[in-house]
Symmetry: C2
Subunit: 589 residues, 2 copies
């Protein structure tokens, strides 16, 4: 049974990701460490006590499409109301619209716990938060006034409508149409797929953000606009009006996250209203919709990264509990009577320690990303720009590495359980089924790798990433200088990994400079993992340095002497694998 790792979360926030210094420098006004601790504690309690039981049952039951629309699993609508009433939805949203304006760091820490409680349930709020941010950043004042306060309070939930059958990773192929109306609104016509929480019975209205194309829009991604399309129209006085012409046509039958309805949405087929066309309101400028959507996608990407962390944590807790109880065989050195707990077997211990290290590494990466986002908002000028670049650099890594780790750790968790792992009632398999979507949605991890290499590395002419690598080196140097024998070979191995990262980075920058895009992209995914593993080593070390606990030291050493061994291979694949990949395309013909 998942228990929110509140202490570990607080430690990572404060001593690894930068919350401690930010608080003591007063970056977040009068936010105190005590308040932080109280928020984390209460979020953890809510996740474990209220979400876990309903989450598990709800995923067994699944969301259903009935006559009147989608019905969430039993108890979820009520769970959502209690959660929203707790003020959790607006935690990091603007105080002007009713939010609490707290740092993203706290929000992602809470998100980790919600996802640990129930990933399927938490998907709904995540989408609402992202939509609220996009509307806040790009919407006209009147539109914000009418919709934002209820999206911030959670009274209305919201969705993102991007994907269509022919427009997934490449939104340029988008076909949904928006016709201008005389009153300044638009009529939307089209089909959207994979719409998470596209319909449900938790709130009395749902605010859809929909990408669509004007009749005279340029082709491709420069002709896409963003619209706000409510399920029910909202009158001047804020009360609900007529049903808008949109509905959920069907639900997907998915590998996992069965409690979360994944909808095919139909806009403007005339099912509702007096004439066909769902009424929508432009957000931002015409044809600039993609830029508006990217606002919410960046935070959504980090939020998906948190799913990876959360599921990895849940899988580790579950496997650890099982491995302590289950007895089979006699491990080397086992002298007591009877069989040993399987945790005593070196192979099982290796799996569990690996799970721990990867979970904590991916957590630190995500929190560091949130820290950068916060600093980009709370600092100014060059400092703000520096952290904006840091956030931009870390976002694809946080999304891709953490979700890959989520899958890897969930699969290891099944393995630790042996035969029980394959039985659904155990719950270990569900974690793998649920998290397997995370490397795919919000931009596949391959797309993240393209983003990382082609857009993030070249920031400030490559100097941003170079500076970041120097920061990592300083951690390794500090490990070396600490002279703590428990670190073993950590300093050497970490420096080696950082050197691999540095060489791979320079190679990629030089290929980009030459315009050799295919070569650079051939190794983008291995590079992304190289970055994530090196950060894992560095952040674990940073935590261990901040703390006298031998266990952090030992975990860091394990990561450095085992997991970081992979970085040399990854570097070699990045810098030396392109030619052989090009030649091997012949086998795909």
């Amino acid at each position: 049974m998942y228990k929110a790792p509140v202490e570990e979360i607080a430690f990572t926030l404060k001593h690894v990701a930068g919350l401690g210094p930010a608080l003591s420098e007063g970056r977040f006004g009068d936010l105190s460490e005590d308040l932080v601790d109280a928020i984390l504690e209460e979020a953890g309690r809510f996740a474990a006590e209220e979400m876990v039981p309903l989450g598990e049952a709800g995923d067994r039951q699944g969301a259903k499409l009935g006559e009147g629309g989608v019905v969430l699993p039993t108890g979820w609508a009520d769970l959502y109301r209690r959660w929203a009433e707790g003020g959790w939805n607006g935690l990091a949203l603007d105080a002007e619209y009713g939010g609490q304006g707290l740092p993203q760091m706290l929000n992602v820490a809470a998100l980790e716990m919600w996802n640990g409680g129930s990933m399927s349930f938490t998907l709904g709020p995540v989408l609402t938060m992202g939509a609220a941010e996009a509307l806040h950043a790009h919407g006209a004042a009147a539109l914000k006034e009418r919709f934002l306060p209820k999206m911030v309070s959670g009274e209305w939930m919201a969705t993102m409508n991007l994907t269509e059958p022919a427009a997934g990773s490449d939104l340029g192929g988008l076909r949904t149409r928006a016709d201008r109306r005389d009153d300044g609104s638009y009529r939307i016509f089209g089909q959207k797929i994979y719409i998470t929480w596209g319909d449900h019975d938790a709130t009395d209205n749902i605010v859809h953000l929909v990408l669509a194309r004007l009749p005279d829009a340029p082709a491709g991604s420069r002709g896409i606009s963003l619209f706000l399309v409510p399920k029910f129209l909202v009158k001047e006085d804020g009360s609900l009006g007529a049903r808008n012409d949109l509905h959920c046509h069907s639900l997907e039958h998915k590998l996992g996250i069965h409690g979360s309805p994944t909808c095919t949405m139909i806009y403007g087929d005339g099912k509702f209203g007096d004439e066909p066309g769902a009424i929508g309101y432009l957000i931002g400028e015409e044809n600039k919709g993609l830029a508006c959507m990217f606002t919410m996608m960046n935070n959504a990407r980090l939020a998906v990264g948190m799913q990876g962390v959360a599921i990895a944590e849940a899988a580790t807790q579950k496997a650890l509990a099982y491995a302590r109880e289950r007895r089979q065989g006699k491990a080397p050195g086992w002298t007591e009577a009877g069989m040993s707990p399987i945790i005593e077997h070196p192979d099982v211990a290796r799996m569990l320690v690996t799970m721990k290290a990867l979970t904590q590494g991916s957590r630190a990466i995500c929190y560091a990303c949130a820290h950068a986002i916060d600093m980009s908002h709370h600092l100014e000028g060059a400092e703000a720009r520096h952290f904006a670049e840091r956030a931009a650099l870390l976002t694809p890594i946080a999304k891709s590495f953490s979700t890959d780790i989520g899958v890897e750790v969930a699969s290891l968790g099944i393995q630790v359980h042996g035969g029980m792992g394959f039985i659904e009632e155990t719950g270990a398999a569900r974690l793998l089924r649920d998290i397997r979507i995370a490397p795919i949605y919000e931009g596949t991890n391959g797309i993240q790798a393209i983003d990382l290499v082609t857009r993030k590395l070249p920031q400030s002419g490559g100097d941003h990433v170079r500076g970041f690598i120097e920061e990592l080196k300083a951690v390794a140097v500090a490990v070396d200088a600490s002279n703590r024998p428990g670190f073993g070979e950590t300093a050497t191995r970490l420096l080696g990994a950082i050197k691999d990262l540095q060489e791979a980075t320079e190679w990629l920058l030089s290929k980009l400079g030459e315009g050799a895009l295919a070569e650079a992209l051939s190794g983008a995914t291995p590079y992304q993992r190289l970055f994530g593993l090196t950060l894992t080593g560095a952040y674990l070390a940073k935590g261990a340095l901040a703390d006298g606990d031998d266990r952090r030291e030992a975990l860091t050493r394990f990561a450095a002497e085992n997991l970081l061994a992979e970085t040399a291979a990854l570097k070699s694949t990045v810098t030396g694998g392109a030619a052989s990949l090009a030649a091997a395309r012949a086998v795909l013909a």
Copy 2:
């Protein structure tokens, strides 16, 4: 839709695994290459045309437990009859009992195709074959006469009953009891779990092989006996008699292989018959049951390895077909109008080529294992002993590496499909759900690694594995001597991997020699992967050397210059990871 890769299978058998030389040396009597080709062709046709459609539908429907026992999915009983009538069940079984006595190499090649057609369906026959082998090797003549011909023809199916709630990897904890009866038979009492095809409606009798303990048996694994316990007793004249006192109590709700019934079996609770106790017949000697069971487990392990190969092949075919059709974005160098097929994107190409290389590598390892089994039967004296050691060495690698690859490739297959990969109707997710059991059953891959390190490496004082490594080196030398530029850095990289394997092997042998078991076992799993990857490189190279096709060369080069980069990390983890793992156990406390 899965299509049996008959040509690739035939090539690997003949030119990589050793079937070609064995045929030309007349090791298999008058078996000709033409007959081999005809058998493979027909097996491939049956798998693709008859198994695929019923397999997919059957996994959706699932096996059900009704009043009268387990009911297989619609059409499966009939599919089984057609399959058995084709003579496939007895392909490699003894001609004396009605089998065809063909080499294991052909049998595993056919098994690959059956599993590609339907893994859930094929599980039934695999268990029957294993049980027939165990009975053949250890049963008394009268018992064999009564049961074996119908098990060979497939008229009756059979099962393996090992696991109990407290006895999984360690069978020493087994509690099922066998009481002696005056007539030389036994009464069996107990509960067995995870019994694959433990009950069904495909045959009118089911022959259960059951491990149980005599009342006066020594404790632990030296007190286990093997019994044949038929669902229906068999009269002297071979006709069916009374229902024996055993039944399927419940079916497991599993992550995958839903068409395959996984039963909890109850023996001797008095549900059937005039007095409680299922009637069983001893196979082999009392208290020597584990040795008898190991006969069937070794071949079953290779058969599970084939599941990994088959699912990897199916996943690769499916992903390749999708990646050729699906268009998104513009890949570097794409000059045609519109979006490019995603196969043109370097990241997608990398996934697909990796899938191809790992699939072909694991196939070659399994076939080489089957070759060694065949040679150990068809040669004599020292030669036979040599190949028996080779088979023993390769079995844990074939089982573990291929099943890990099955999971890895199936997961990559989902990723290639993007959002579609998470939708059950696509079929990509089912492959992952199905294959996830394979690293667990028939001895978890961790157990395989313990077997590999502690029992297989020390064969002939370590000289067997040393000799094998020299054979691999000869392949790398031949690549070097070939001077074919398409091989790129293959020779150097392959020699490097072999050196890593050699060093890791010597380190493990020396630790075993010192009695430092915990140290040796700390790296057993990474060692197993190191061995599998190195073999992948060597066998791909062997195939490419045997053939003028540039594509084999290119695939070998890709594997050598990308996948083999991992071997240095694995070696370093094997030889340098134990101390840090031991220290990190503190974090599990």
